[in-house]
Amino acid sequence: MSADHKTTQLDAPLSETTRTVTLVSWKTAGVLATVTLLYALLLVAVPHSGDTRFLLSQRSDFFQIPVVVLPSAPLAWVCAVVLLAVTAVAAVLTARRRRTPTWLVVVYSAAALTGFLAWAGAGSPRDLSIVGLLGGAVLWSVPFVYGALGGVIGERAGVVNIAIEAQLLGAAFTAAVVSSITDSAVAGLAAALLAGALVSLVLGLFAITYHVNQVIVGVVLNVLVVGLTSFLYSQVLVPSAETLNSTTRFTAVPIPVLSDIPVLGPVLFRQPLLIYLMFLAVPAVWFALNRTRWGLRLRAVGEHPKAADTVGIDVVRTRYNAVLVAGAVAGLGGAFYTTVQLSQFGENMTGGAGYIALAAVIFGKWDPVRAAFAGLLFGFASNLQNVLSVVGSPVPSQFMLMVPYVVTLLAVAGLVGRSRPPAASGEPYVKG
């Protein structure tokens, strides 16, 4: 885009045009430079030698790919050079008042990751499973993606869904109890849906009906649900763990043919039902928001509620509807904890995943598909720690536990471009 880009056609008289200039910020270049510096420091201060073994297939796979063995130090340094180059390009672009293209950031991230894995896995006799890395990322992203979808639906209708954390945790608890009693993971899932919607109902009551500040209600709900589930856990679940807190889980259901595709097959198509449902939910939410009457009205209410009111749309009812659906969707994510990941509920087991989902909403610019990809990224960051501990990485595991949060922070602070939230987001609608 040129520095003084004309917004209207050329045949308009000169006075018809409003000049715009591209404003650039040094944020992206700054983040890239910081990460590059930290990475280089890591390589210099804690040098590793030996080979890194990248494993691309599993023993059970139809197609077998041999283990790729690469010398780690040269690979890590090649990646460092790439990082430096991308940082330099970003800096030059910014100096010329141009934006850093997204693909460049993707190249950077891939190089940083490869280099880091090469460094971390150096000299380890064990293989670093790429399938485990990616498949785990998909699995771990489940609460983030469902949570982010719930966040997007709520906020597009004008209600900030800070209570995602409460919806996840409440749903995880409910799913655990119901699945344990009924011996059915599907029943647990249905219960999770209802639990998420129930949290939403409380959010709606205060935020929509009583015009209470949505952020405050959301945060209070999050704290409330932590307290409530912890109380019930210690008073009810612990004494009778056998009957109430021993869930039936979803098991991986390989999809014939598709699951035999090298690398991608096991990553995407050897997963439990809840993950396949997620693959469907993302486009479904996108379609519902953008192509249906329900979505049009929902977005109208989130952008300009009064305009919606003047064409006969019931703002309050539309917002309740959206918030309940949002809670139910987030509830599906909560079910992950007790019907996929573990077979029991644990105190505060979501550990802030709802807030990461909220970050995914913003990183995804309030679009369900982008938000889902953001959730996937955060899922990857969460899973990194598991994979590295298998390889026997030298990084302390407590440090790696920080990674998803650091990635979230960098993504939201450094890499989010210009984005505009729904205009009436967070604003209660008061008639008249």
Partner: protein, 508 residues
């Protein structure tokens, strides 16, 4: 369809906004509802449109009593409204806005956008609107947005159309076009209610005129009545419509703005290479349709804009880059465009608001302590001098009428030693009596030798106050012309046509 309002009464607490109002609008008639800001016109129409519920009275359509629980019911009954503040979703397309609320769907619950597009094109063609159904509303000029509002109403087969202050955001030419559209709608048999406080428009287009004052119908007037008659009916006493001023006595000192460029957060150049000079003792009126950079220009003068290049000098001193405080200290008085938002703290008393900009030292503050006695004496003097009608200086400003609030702002800004006075929309939402007063004070400031910049989107006001008029369009200066330039020429300039071309077009 014949609309009748019978004894409509609407109260907000103790305030009676509408007091037993009767109104009949026949099909094929433009019925003008004339009244000052706050007279209760918009309240009445919101009752009609189902946004408010009246305490008493009936709405009748073709002699049948209607009950509207909400705007949906009113629309279903055939009432359409073109709102003063457009009820359009800015990020939606024209078609999406038009279909919203009565969407047609195809299989699978999908929106039938093609049907909506066809409807937009059909109505556009009927009235010669040239509206692209796929254009995003926020990218359209306000005049076109208003047409989208009209299409929206017509797409629901409205027989009664209410235009609520529709010309506030239009250029004079766009206003003329709107009048033509209203006549066309009338000739097709629609019953039209036209709400306004602009006398010129009333006489041009109205078939009948009902005047409302303090929530009551005070009489009917004929479209042939003079401006003075209509104004006195509207205000309740004889009013002075023109501003008396002598030829300016220019002084050397003054304001000089050179190549001023202001860029907003999105990278749009909102003030684009603006240069002008204002001598002491002169009023420069900045005319133009709302949103063409006037707001940002005034904010740049006072130091409120972030991304500013160019030069602003006052008596030779550079102001760009200085803090607001230091600019005020140079003797700049500033009346912001939106007094409730930027000019006053609603919860504060009159006395507190009058000293808002003086809290940095004597005589209002000594050794960190407010000098309450001095403050109150000062406030009493000022409310007497500026004719602020209030119970006392301890009244919260938020409880005052628009006119009295504005007088508090003007009093504060004029009670320092001024070397520049900048007023943005000084009489917006102000009653006619206060307008007279504020105009007189502005002229008095000019006659005291102060350079004055007045921004007004009301061309009448700009013409009345100005010694010279600067017209802005899309952030640029279209031209600076004498105050006696014909309205037609100014109107064309407001649409971005250079003064030379505009004069040529008008004489042609």
């Amino acid at each position: 369809m014949r609309l009748e309002l019978r004894g409509i009464t609407k109260r907000f607490g103790a305030l009676v906004a509408n007091d037993h109002i009767d109104l009949v609008v026949e099909p094929g008639e433009i019925h003008c509802l004339l009244g000052e800001n706050g007279a209760g016109k918009s309240t009445l129409m919101n009752v009609l449109y189902g946004l408010y519920e009246a305490e008493e009275g009936d709405i009748l359509l073709d002699d049948e009593v209607q009950r509207f629980a909400g705007p949906g019911d009113a629309m279903a009954a055939g009432i359409g409204m073109v709102h003063q503040h457009f009820m359009l979703v800015p990020v939606f397309t024209v078609a999406e806005n038009v279909m919203l609320g009565h969407e047609q769907t195809r299989g699978g619950g999908r929106l039938d956008l093609d049907a909506a597009r066809a409807q937009v094109r059909e109505i556009s063609a009927r009235f010669g609107f040239h509206v692209d159904p796929d254009a995003v509303v926020e990218d359209l000029p306000v005049g076109v947005q208003q047409r989208v509002e009209i299409i929206k109403a017509l797409s629901r087969n409205a027989d009664v159309l209410v235009f609520d202050e529709p010309t506030a955001v239009l250029t004079p030419q766009e206003t003329d076009e709107l009048m033509a559209i209203m006549r066309q709608l009338r000739d097709e048999g629609a019953a039209i209610v036209f709400i306004t406080h602009k006398l010129r428009e009333v006489r041009e287009v109205a078939d009948r005129i009902t005047v409302i004052r303090h929530g009551k119908v005070v009489g009917e007037a004929s479209p042939t009545a003079s401006d003075a008659e209509l104004a006195s009916l509207m205000v309740g006493r004889a009013v002075e419509l023109t501003v008396h001023k002598d030829a300016p006595t220019l002084r050397d000192n003054g304001l000089r703005v050179t190549d001023l460029v202001v860029t907003d957060e999105a990278g749009t150049v909102v003030v684009d290479g603006v240069s002008f000079e204002v001598s002491g003792g002169e009023v420069l009126a900045v005319a133009g349709v709302q949103g063409n950079g006037q707001t940002e220009l005034t904010e740049a003068l006072i130091g409120l804009e972030g991304d500013v290049t160019g030069s602003i000098t006052l008596d030779g001193k550079e102001l760009v880059g200085r803090s607001v405080r230091r600019i005020l200290d140079e003797g700049v008085g500033f009346v912001p465009e939106d007094r409730t938002h930027d000019g006053l703290v609603g919860e504060f008393t009159i006395a507190e608001n009058l000293m808002l900009d003086r809290s940095d030292g004597p005589p209002f503050v000594r050794r960190g302590a407010l000098q309450l006695a001095f403050r109150d004496r000062f406030a009493r003097e000022k409310i007497a001098e500026f004719d602020v009608r209030a119970q006392g200086i301890a009244t919260p400003v938020g409880r005052l009428s628009g006119g009295n609030q504005q007088k508090v702002v003007v009093a504060r800004e004029m009670s320092r030693d001024l070397r520049l006075f900048v007023a943005a929309q000084p009489t917006r939402g102000v009653d006619v009596g206060s307008i007279e007063f504020i105009h007189k004070r502005i002229i008095a400031t000019r006659d005291a030798g102060v350079p004055v910049v007045v921004v007004s989107t009301e061309l009448d006001e700009a013409v009345a106050l100005a010694d010279r008029i600067m017209v802005m369009y899309r952030g640029k200066v279209v031209g600076i012309v004498p105050a006696d330039t014909p309205r037609d020429v100014l109107g064309l300039m407001m649409a971005g046509i250079s003064p030379e071309d505009a004069k040529g077009e008008v004489t042609a």
